[in-house]
């Protein structure tokens, strides 16, 4: 089995060097009226280039734009839709980071592409394929609230997000994205909603064209849902192993008809994984499950780590693959 290396999604947008402070400094100056939106955009461009460079230097086969321009995983998309306004801060799952909660005020509509320009910029700056990442409709709907007195039902929000994101998936596919990653971590908290989740996902799958669609889960134990996830019409499942102590055995027992993204490198902790342990886990999964293809990656976005540690984690991916292939020093 060929093992590829990839980034998961986000990447630190700050570092301890002077250049690493560029975006934070520029945004702070913009807030004081000392810099313009255009100057902030230039700073975002530069930090995106740096994120791409560091991923390429780590020999990844697939990279992301690091979601450098995103305020958070929720409001960045919801805030671009008609029918939603952005409200106060809430904790993002069990992290110590916060997102701005969307308030759905009416019918959700996508007035313009949301990520296409950023994808094209990143792909132009990268020698490796860039994977656009979207937070999925189910997670967006669960992390939104309806405007008081507007009587917007959850199903209505879910369908609205699904419709808007399906248009974005089609636009990204048309722009040349080979693989698109849709993230649905909230399903792990509410597995009883599988039917509604599946229906919303179907709208995106229908518009992906010839692009591959990877479906990502993190910040929860995916093992109990694993068999059902195998029935979904997606090309790849991206799985966080750090919350799922039984996942290796679950996959080994059940196999996989889909390519798997193996989130065996903890994106939430600085400790580097023991290479022989990870090699054993990959061998166990790949041999028993007869995987068609697999990609080794962090368990989640890397923005939860300081930049120097995120770089080390990416470089560690190569070390782990070398260990698996018997090339380690």
């Amino acid at each position: 089995m060929e093992l590829k290396l990839a980034n998961h999604s986000s990447y630190p947008r700050i570092g301890d060097s002077a250049e690493g402070q560029l975006l934070r400094r520029t945004i702070a100056q913009r807030e004081k009226g000392e810099k313009t939106d255009a100057e902030a955009r230039v700073a975002e461009d530069r930090m995106t280039e740096l994120a791409l460079q560091e991923q390429i230097q780590a020999h990844l086969d697939s990279v992301t734009d690091g979601q450098i321009r995103w305020h958070d995983s929720v409001s960045h998309l919801a805030g671009k839709l008609k029918g939603a306004r952005i409200n106060g801060l809430l904790r993002f799952f069990d992290t110590n980071t916060y997102f701005r909660q969307p308030v759905v005020t009416g019918r959700l509509e996508r007035p313009a592409p949301m990520l296409v320009e950023d994808f094209l910029f990143a792909q132009q700056k990268s020698s490796r394929p860039v994977k656009p990442v979207l937070t999925g409709p189910y997670t967006l709907a669960r992390l939104s609230v309806a405007e008081e007195n507007q009587n917007v039902a959850f199903e209505e929000m879910l369908d609205g997000y699904a419709g808007a994101l399906a248009e974005e998936v089609a636009a990204l596919a048309a722009a040349g994205a080979r693989t698109l990653q849709v993230e649905e971590p909230y399903l792990l908290k509410q597995p009883g909603d599988f039917a509604a989740f599946e229906r919303a996902l179907g709208a995106l799958v229908a518009r992906k064209g010839s692009s591959r669609l990877a479906l990502a889960f993190y910040f929860g134990d995916v093992s109990p849902l694993y068999d059902k996830l195998q029935t979904l019409p997606v090309d790849e499942l991206v799985l966080d192993f750090t919350y799922s102590p039984k996942l290796v055995e679950t996959i080994a027992a059940g196999g996989s008809a889909k390519a798997l993204g193996l989130g065996l490198v903890d994106g939430r902790n600085t400790r580097l994984e023991d290479p022989s342990t990870v090699a054993r886990q990959i061998e166990r999964v790949s041999r028993a499950a007869q995987l068609p293809a697999a990609t080794l990656m962090p368990s989640c976005g890397l923005e939860y780590l300081p930049r120097d540690r995120a770089q080390l984690k990416l470089k560690h991916l190569s070390t782990l693959r070398d260990t698996l292939n018997g090339k380690a020093a």
């Binding site: 301890d16 958070d72 801060l89 902790n269 600085t270 400790r271 939860y304 300081p306 930049r307 120097d308």
Partner: protein, 330 residues
């Protein structure tokens, strides 16, 4: 009710005691001093003078406003976890990670066995208590939150790191009690986000407080309480300090389903809003609380620390709390 425990500790409080969660905004001169200290333009002693001046300011301000149980305002802290990590061997300062938007903080890394180095907060508590006759709370961050908000490279897993921290933080609790602190708040804002780890957080709090003669409060905020209530009532503390207003008093519905059994420091003003609530609004929130809670159990405070407000806003929010509590007493 824990009021008897307070009386045994020699503390008499009025009905609906007023307090605050812990942090107050730093006055401009202290913000400047911290910046200059970071640039090595002033000495640690000069910074400390500014911190003491700001601490005295907030003690006097709380007295002036009529607050019943005071805090030192945490003028000497940057962050509630990093402060303890900076003082405890076993930690190193990590690089910057994002909190939200354009806000970042240095997240600590546990690199070896953590150790209590001797009193960390005691001198500040003694200084603050020396400025007032009213009780001043000892203020600590709990083991679970320190563990959860740090990277762990030293311990086998989260549980091992958490329980090791709990044992070391207990030594700080003992030192505060030795110094005379009767009310000690051990903040655990992280416990509400991993319901499956609630038993670990409770076990850690037990390690930290078991058998010690103090009235214990723990502050929890901005989480999914519906997943940890009523299990959280097993925490070995006397008083939960809870964010209530920001979440529209949602927790009262949970209290109706399963009776609440401890004292409560009821967050009656929103700390993330510049607007100062009108006194009748706060009074109404407290009256709603009294529909499901015994009056002897109700303390009155803000949702969370007020450090993100301006000095004037923080003082005004505290004033409206005190006014509402007084109106209720009458």
């Amino acid at each position: 009710m824990s009021r008897e425990k307070l009386q045994k500790l020699g503390i008499e409080l009025p009905l609906f005691p007023t307090t605050s969660v812990g942090s107050f905004p730093k006055p401009d001169y202290l913000v400047t001093a911290r910046s200059e200290f970071a640039k090595r333009k002033i000495s640690r002693d000069q910074l400390r003078q500014s911190e003491r001046r700001a601490t005295e300011f907030w003690i006097r301000k709380q007295e002036e406003l009529g607050v019943d149980v005071l805090v030192d305002g945490e003028m000497y802290r940057g962050d509630m976890v990093a402060y303890f990590a900076e003082h405890m061997p076993g930690f190193e300062e990590g690089g910057l990670v994002r909190s939200y938007g354009n806000r970042y903080y240095h997240k600590p890394i546990i690199i070896s066995e953590v150790q209590w180095p001797g009193p960390i907060t005691v001198e500040w508590w003694e200084y603050a208590q020396g400025l007032t006759r009213k009780p001043v709370k000892g203020m600590l961050t709990g083991a679970y939150t320190v563990m959860d908000w740090s990277f762990n490279e030293a311990y086998a897993d989260r549980r091992a790191a958490c329980l090791a921290l709990a044992g070391e933080i207990r030594k700080e609790v003992e030192a505060l009690i030795q110094a005379g602190a009767k009310i000690i708040q051990i903040d655990e804002p992280a416990v509400s986000v991993r319901p499956e780890e609630l038993p670990l957080a409770i076990e850690a709090m037990r390690v930290t407080t078991d058998g010690l003669p103090a009235y214990f409060i723990t502050h929890i905020c901005y989480g999914a309480f519906e997943y940890i209530y009523p299990g959280m009532l097993e925490f070995p503390v006397d008083n939960f300090d809870l964010e209530m207003s920001n979440s529209g008093l949602d927790m009262l519905a949970l209290f109706r389903q399963h009776p609440y059994s401890k004292d409560i420091s009821f967050g009656a003003v929103d700390v993330h809003n510049h607007a100062i609530e009108a006194e009748p609004v706060v009074e109404e929130r407290l009256r709603k609380a009294l529909e499901v809670l015994p009056k002897e159990s109700l303390w009155v405070d803000p949702d969370c620390g007020l450090k993100t407000r301006s000095v004037e806003e923080a003082a005004q929010k505290m004033k409206v709390l005190v006014d509402a509590a007084r109106a209720l007493r009458n």
